[in-house]
């Protein structure tokens, strides 16, 4: 044992070993990316399957057809007639319809304020009591009056009304069914779900006058046109990259494609030819949606409350009519009605690359973890390096022993073993921690500033504020670095420690985040990867300029700009959405950006412009 120890302490200072970490961390990043690219292959992804046997998707006959279509057309005419009416007038009429179907109806007003704008409206919902049930469980059918794009959900709302009337006739429901028609697709559902769980902020958001039991699932219809459709687009991303149970999605896919013969697609992949490229693209689009953490539909608001939810959007020109859509919903509700337990069997963490192919967390997690580990490896390496003696031109250890036989050799006394180790390798330089710690802590706290500013600026001011911030952001690290040199003139060791702490934090945050929101952790990890290799290059101006360019390109602000340019959005629009997400949905992507990514970027820039003080040999030596 002791022999092992002594040889290990010898090995610890082996110069060859100390060269390994930078390459190792590079390898981690490369493997991490390669790992992700391997996932769409058949060998690494799996076909989806129904885990919860109680669901029995597509095992029931659906009867939503025939004269119910006449009723549907009637309701659609009514909905069309209400297109330009105010929220209250619409709800008055809807309340009448629901009441005529024999349901209990209630309304809820809400008002949110975000980025200087007010989002107000009134939700209306009706509860169909389970004929023999006792309000312990419920499933929700949502049809927002206007969909995510602000278009009137004409067929969707008419379908909800018709289905409400149709479901009322059945006596087999074991759970209450709640029909929710929210005023919009973004704030309305959130207000309703918050109030259902009594976590809303009154009085701006009203409490629900009527409630049922624990929500077991929610299905949203987003059907804004009135022609026939070809296939079904399933939207499943929740807020902060949370996902519904895979069984719910599998059920809908199995019913739509298996029972009804309607093709399904994900992530706006209107064409999917099951090639590697298409699979990868679907997966990356999903990762982007989950990484951004925004709500992709009314269903997103349900997921944080552990209510599994999805949105169904018919699209394309085909021969499937609205009754087929109704039958999909009917069959899905029959399946959910079969549930004896809350959906728990299948996966909550997955990446989908096709409607029937997925990768589970065990397979994909290592890729984000490897990217995060690269920072940690480098941080540990720098910590060790900062403690090692200043490199001098010195003879090899063997030569050292030959020249000064006993003076600098310490015996490692042990009962059983003895080893001769050069004293240099056992001594550690004292680390000056104060400055590095305060720089890293300061930059971390500084992250609160942009977080606050961007979440509390009104919409008109967002663009100018962002412009000012972006410009300041590009000069600020240089100023900070110069100030640091001027007043503190840090040593190489201090620079190493600054970097070590910064990377350590980054590695820790990202590996923790990878278990919560894999996609965000992976994306931030990728953008921050060059920070691993940044250090002061005082005598290599070309390298400095090159790195400065690279880092400036990968600054959070520039990445944001590039993203808005690529998707042809306005910066203000994106920032407004982010502020809305923060205020309404409880989205926390910006916390990661401004408090994890941005601080480490600032520290990276400070390091890049740093000029280490020439060190004397006065570093105190302390025996380890």
């Amino acid at each position: 044992m002791s022999r092992l120890l002594s040889s290990a302490s010898l090995l610890r200072r082996d110069p060859r070993l100390l060269k390994v970490p930078p390459y190792l961390s590079l390898l981690c990043v490369v493997i991490g990316i390669a790992w992700l690219l391997l996932l769409p292959l058949d060998d690494y992804s799996r076909k989806t399957y129904i885990s919860e046997n109680a669901l029995l998707p597509g095992q029931v006959h659906t009867y939503f057809a025939g004269s119910d279509q006449n009723v549907f057309r009637g309701y659609k005419r009514e909905v069309d007639a209400l297109e330009d009416r105010s929220n209250i007038e619409v709800n008055d009429k809807l309340e009448e319809f629901f009441k005529a179907s024999g349901l209990k109806v209630a309304r809820q007003r809400y008002e949110y304020k975000s980025a200087g704008e007010t989002y107000a409206g009134e939700n209306i919902y009706a509860i169909l009591h389970a004929p023999r049930g006792d309000a312990t469980e419920a499933i929700v059918l949502v049809g927002a009056w206007r969909n995510v794009d602000g278009v009137l959900n004409r067929s969707g709302v008419a379908l909800v009304l018709t289905l409400a009337r149709y479901f009322k006739r059945w006596s087999l429901w074991s759970k209450d069914i709640i029909f929710l028609i929210s005023a919009d697709s973004r704030a309305g559902p959130q207000a309703w779900v918050d109030a259902y769980h009594d976590t809303h902020q009154s009085p701006s958001i009203e409490s629900l006058p009527l409630k049922s039991g624990a929500l077991q699932g929610a299905v949203v219809i987003d059907y804004p046109f009135d022609h026939r459709f070809e296939s079904l687009h399933v939207v499943y991303d929740g807020i902060n990259g949370q996902l519904p149970n895979l069984d719910l999605l599998n059920t809908v896919v199995a019913i739509a494609s298996g029972q009804m013969g309607i093709p399904t697609s994900l992530q706006q992949m209107w064409q999917h030819s099951d090639t590697y490229k298409d699979r990868l693209q679907t997966m990356l689009r999903g990762m982007l949606n989950q990484g951004l953490g925004h709500a992709s539909g009314p269903h997103s608001s349900f997921i944080p409350y552990h209510v599994d939810a999805i949105t169904l959007q018919p699209y394309g020109e085909g021969w499937q009519d609205e009754m087929a859509m109704g039958r999909v919903i009917e069959s899905t509700f029959r399946s959910l009605n079969n549930l004896l337990e809350h959906l728990h069997q299948s996966f909550f963490f997955y990446l989908l690359m096709q409607a029937n192919r997925f990768v589970s967390i065990g397979t994909y997690l290592p890729s984000a973890m490897l990217v995060a580990v690269n920072f940690t490896i480098m941080a540990i390496f720098l910590w060790l390096k900062s403690g090692s003696p200043v490199e001098k031109k010195k003879p090899s250890p063997s030569a050292l022993i030959r020249e000064k036989p006993l003076a600098q050799i310490q015996g490692m006394d042990d009962v059983k073993a003895k080893a001769l180790i050069p004293e240099d390798t056992l001594t550690v330089r004292e680390r000056e921690l104060f400055l590095p710690l305060s720089v890293v802590a300061g930059s971390q706290f500084l992250g609160v500033l942009p977080l606050y500013i961007f979440n509390h600026t009104s919409e008109q001011m967002l663009t100018p504020v962002f412009a000012i911030f972006a410009i300041l952001n590009s000069i600020f690290p240089y100023i900070l670095s110069t100030a640091l040199i001027r007043y503190f003139s840090p040593t190489t060791q201090q620079y190493q420690l600054i970097k070590s702490f910064s990377l350590l934090l980054l590695g820790m945050f990202l590996s923790a985040l990878a278990t919560l929101n894999f996609s965000l952790a992976f994306l931030v990890g990728l953008f921050a990867a060059p920070l691993t290799y940044v250090e002061p290059f005082p005598r290599r101006p070309i390298t400095t300029v090159g790195f400065a360019l690279l880092l400036s390109l990968l600054a959070p602000t520039v990445v944001l700009l590039a993203g808005t340019y690529y998707w042809q959005l306005g910066v203000a629009e994106v920032l407004k959405e982010a502020a809305f997400g923060w205020d309404v949905w409880g989205m926390n992507t910006q916390v990661v950006v401004w408090c994890v990514w941005w601080p480490s970027w600032v520290v990276g820039m400070i390091l890049l412009f740093g000029r280490p003080r020439e060190e004397g040999t006065d570093g105190k030596k302390v025996a380890s």
């Binding site: 009867y63 006449n70 009637g74 005419r77 023999r132 312990t136």
Partner: protein, 586 residues
């Protein structure tokens, strides 16, 4: 022989004498009350009541009183018993006050409370255990699962409804238990009907059928046993009341049994609003059918008509009543005598004893409706909050009366794993904090021993809404304590609200608890079992088998068998010869 015959005649005579004696003290009534409810629902209340004198009961002389139940009560020293089986939810907003003032109903599932006579608490617990186990067998219900964690001893919510003498009263122990998870079904109905004197063969009980009863939107079966002592009489009576109340959906009940699927109606039969401008052959705005009184008949709703009267019902009171305005047309079958009540909303039928009875209410356009009694209080209870660690309960109680304040007792009996924070108990009236809690009885839970019991007396002013909230923490159970469907959640018994004689129960709740991933132990069990099986087989083989080289092994062909056989014969022959030799030498 003669002696035994004499004895038989003697005992027969005694029996006749006793039954004649009992006859004067025992009686039996049954009544069915129908009340149409909005929209297109029908409340049917069946009431069966019989009295037996306490003396004959104590002499084990049962006449109308079911022997099976009577002996259980005697064995468990139970003086008063209330047993409820309920399903569904009463919609007070549309249906008004509950039948019998809520006194004959229980919370979802099974509810049992009884006054047991015992010297000490321990003895009472012992007798309660006997009682629940015996009733469990009698009613095919899981009543035996009412253990100490589900038993409470309410202080102010329940009072004995019978008359007990002061000497017994001091020794009576009230015990109350609920099983909110129990699903009431036909297996509970059959023993229930068997307790009736006519056993569901004749009289109103012949209408009771599991298919219809358990398809009801709300139903409640109750059994109450209590002693009644009228002040003048020297002997007390033991009264057993059995009731069944159900709310039937007329449209659902009228569907034929062989085709119960609510297929879309043919286009011609669709009732449309023809005044709409877009009305056409393929577009229809459905018409609200609620303004018309639905057509129905007894045989339609219950599947068959009423088979005569129960001959044991000896009081001559009308056995079928219906609560509709006199203007509503009601046709009854021949032989039944109609009696209209002076209030204008009630009519009863005196049935002829051996003829089938049916009643038909045709479709009728009528605006007049029998008035609904308004409930004293609307109660709604739900969970608030989310997550695996904490939660809250919110009860919204509304007093609809514009003039009268309501004084009531709110009782919760919670399982031990729902740890109540009493300091968070708050009552707000119309959104304002007010000191409305007048009295509180609280018995904290003990882990795995008993549940929390909370009784609160509250005064709620006229025309106001009270919101009662409290927070709780969820305990983590041991993994063997989870039921097989652990992820469903745990049912929390309804709260009981008592306002004098009226009682109201909220719906039950479903509490999700932090649940371990049970597939993990399952996988481990499977894996270890496989490893065990493999290693066992391997070792077993090693122990019992003899391993030999291929060439050493016996060749099992026909020749070998023949040779072996021959060798055996030879050996036997030789032995036989030897034996002969020995005999010869002797």
């Amino acid at each position: 022989m003669l002696l035994s015959l004499l004895f038989l005649i003697g005992s027969l005579a005694t029996t006749i004498a006793i039954s004649a004696l009992a006859d004067s003290h025992s009686d039996y009534h049954e009544q069915l009350l129908l009340r149409p409810l909005h929209p297109s629902l029908l409340l049917a209340s069946f009431n069966f009541q019989s009295n037996t004198s306490l003396t004959s009961f104590n002499q084990q002389n049962f006449r109308y009183f079911p022997r099976s139940l009577g002996q259980i009560l005697q064995h468990a020293n139970t003086r008063e018993l209330h047993l409820r089986f309920s399903l569904g939810r009463w919609d007070a907003e549309n249906w008004g006050a509950r039948p019998w003032g809520g006194a004959r109903e229980g919370g979802t599932g099974v509810e049992l409370w009884a006054w047991v006579e015992a010297e000490t608490d321990d003895e009472a617990d012992q007798r309660w255990l006997t009682l629940t186990n015996a009733l469990s067998g009698l009613f095919c219900a899981s009543l035996n699962f009412i253990d100490s964690t589900r038993t409470t001893r309410p202080v102010v919510s329940f009072h004995p409804s019978g008359n007990h003498s002061n000497s017994t009263l001091s020794n009576l122990h009230l015990l109350h238990g609920t099983l909110p998870r129990e699903v009431v079904c036909t297996e509970n109905l059959t023993p229930f009907l068997k307790l009736l004197p006519c056993k569901g063969k004749a009289g109103i009980s012949s209408l009771l059928d599991g298919h219809k009863l358990f398809d009801a939107s709300w139903q409640s079966m109750s059994i109450d046993v209590r002693p009644i002592c009228s002040p003048g009489a020297d002997d007390c009576q033991l009264q057993i009341t059995q009731t069944i109340d159900m709310v039937l959906d007329l449209q659902r009940s009228k569907r034929p049994r062989d085709n119960p699927i609510p297929r879309p109606v043919p286009q011609e039969e669709l009732k449309c609003d023809t005044s709409k401008p877009y009305h056409s052959d393929d577009t229809c705005f459905p018409l609200d059918a609620a303004s018309q009184e639905e057509e129905f008949s007894l045989s339609h709703i219950f599947g068959h008509s009423l088979r005569g009267t129960c001959p044991l019902a000896n009081d001559g009171a009308p056995s079928v009543c219906i609560n509709v305005p006199h203007a509503r047309e009601v046709y009854a079958s021949e032989g039944a005598r109609e009696e209209k009540d002076s209030s204008g909303y009630m009519r009863c039928f005196q049935l002829s004893p051996d003829k089938d009875f049916d009643m038909v209410l045709p479709q009728q356009e009528i605006s007049e409706k029998a008035p609904l009694a308004q409930p004293l209080l609307y109660a709604e209870r739900s969970f608030i909050g989310y997550g695996q660690e904490r939660g809250g309960v919110q009860a919204i109680l509304t007093n609809p009366s514009p003039t009268d304040a309501v004084d009531f007792v709110y009782m919760e009996s919670l399982p031990w794993f729902m740890k109540l924070y009493l300091h968070t108990l708050k009552a707000k009236i119309n959104g304002q904090d007010k000191d409305t809690i007048k009295e509180m009885y609280y018995r904290p839970a003990l882990d795995r021993k008993r549940g929390t019991q909370l009784e609160v007396r509250i005064l709620i002013p006229a025309n106001s809404t009270l919101v009662l909230t409290y927070d709780f923490e969820k305990a983590i159970l041991r993994y063997t304590e989870y039921p097989p469907d652990a992820n469903r959640g745990f049912d929390i018994a309804p709260a009981v609200i008592t306002i004098g004689d009226v009682s109201i129960r909220t719906t039950s709740l479903l509490l999700p608890l932090p649940t371990p991933d049970f597939s993990m132990p399952y996988n481990v069990i499977i894996l270890t079992s496989t490893v065990m099986a493999l290693s066992f087989g391997f070792i077993f083989n090693l122990l019992v088998r003899r391993f030999v080289a291929m060439d050493e092994a016996d060749q099992w062909d026909v020749r070998a068998i023949r040779l072996k056989f021959a060798a055996t014969i030879r050996r036997l022959a030789r032995r036989f010869k030897k034996y002969e030799k020995i005999q010869k030498t002797e």
